[in-house]
């Protein structure tokens, strides 16, 4: 899967779980400030991403992840 396709798939997960519009899911978007996502939303998103991309994300890897870009890089590094 190339990076663009992976990001589109990532975006689909984010739109569905966070209930936001696709155009809100930019790489710079911050989960809390821009997407109104709380900690449980992030847990839910990670679970959806794990399922969708068939990867496993350890809790410790999520420390400091605050933007879409950071989360996407975390997932894409595992593909």
């Amino acid at each position: 899967m190339d990076e663009t396709a992976a990001f589109e798939k990532f975006k689909e997960c984010a739109v569905e779980v966070l209930q936001v519009r696709p155009d809100q899911v930019t790489r710079e978007a911050r989960f809390a400030e821009d997407l109104d996502a709380d900690s449980l939303d992030l847990v839910e998103l990670v679970m959806a991403l794990e399922e969708s991309f068939d990867v496993t994300v350890d809790e410790t890897e999520l420390e400091g992840v605050e933007t879409i870009e950071q989360a996407f890089n975390l997932i894409s590094a595992k593909l």
Binding site: D38, L40, V43, E44, M47
Partner: protein
């Protein structure tokens, strides 16, 4: 949000751990009578009851918990109502209590409830609805000689419930506790007649409870009507624990 995210009425998928007898079985019968789809887990032997999905499961084993949920999801659907009821006793005065007695009770009664809840919540969070009820005990707050392990575990359920109530509130999932007093179950039958008589004498209502009376409280807390009740401890103890 609001009414849309409340659990649907009859026909919900309900899981009761430790549902083969006593309070657990009474809960299963109550939910069945309301038209819900009911699964129970048991350790020793399944109940002779019609219409229940009965699954063997030791709640001290996360793998067995996962297998039971997977089976329920395949046959009934995702669990919408969880009643964490599985519990054991290893009553002894602390001076004579072994590490094993302590550990076994904590692992089943407290950690077991946490294991099944953890497995159940992923689906509830996704569905934005759910009801979780923990079966605690009057001894959680009053203490009981010979039950340091049991009381500690049952008190632990209250802290567990209240933390979860906060964690899951944004998804309209409620988490509550029922604290029964003396209930006519096998657990009570193991008590000496003299002690039972003395204990009953301390109950303002002057009798032991029928398991169905505890199930009725569980039924309320898991109903759509109880949507604004979370983190509550509902005593069903004939007044035994008043003021605790």
């Amino acid at each position: 949000m609001g009414a849309m995210t409340e659990p649907a009425g009859p026909g919900r998928v309900v899981l009761i751990t430790g549902g083969s007898r006593g309070i657990g079985l009474a809960c299963a019968e109550m939910f069945l009578s309301r038209g819900d789809r009911v699964a129970i887990t048991y350790k020793a032997k399944p109940p002779e009851a019609e219409g229940l999905l009965c699954l063997p499961c030791d709640v001290t084993d996360a793998e067995q918990v996962d297998e039971a949920f997977t089976e329920i999801e395949a046959r009934l659907g995702p669990v919408e109502v969880l009643v964490a009821n599985a519990g054991i006793t290893r009553d002894r005065l602390t001076l004579r209590m072994s590490e094993a007695d302590w550990g076994a009770v904590l692992d089943t009664n407290l950690s077991g409830a946490w294991r099944v809840t953890r497995r159940a919540t992923a689906g509830m969070v996704r569905a934005h609805r759910g009801r979780i009820v923990f079966v605690s005990s009057v001894s959680a707050t009053s203490g009981a000689p010979g039950q340091a392990n049991y009381s500690a575990a049952k008190a632990g359920l209250i802290g567990l419930a209240r933390s979860l109530a906060r964690e899951l509130a944004s998804r309209q999932i409620t988490v509550n506790v029922v604290a029964p007093g003396l209930v006519a179950t096998d657990m009570l039958a193991a008590m000496s007649p003299a002690r039972l008589s003395a204990m009953t004498g301390m109950v303002p209502l002057g009798r032991v409870a029928d398991p169905a009376e505890v199930a009725a409280a569980v039924g309320f807390l898991s109903s759509p009507e109880a949507g604004y009740v979370t983190g509550a401890v509902l005593a069903v103890d004939g007044g035994l624990g008043m003021g605790m």
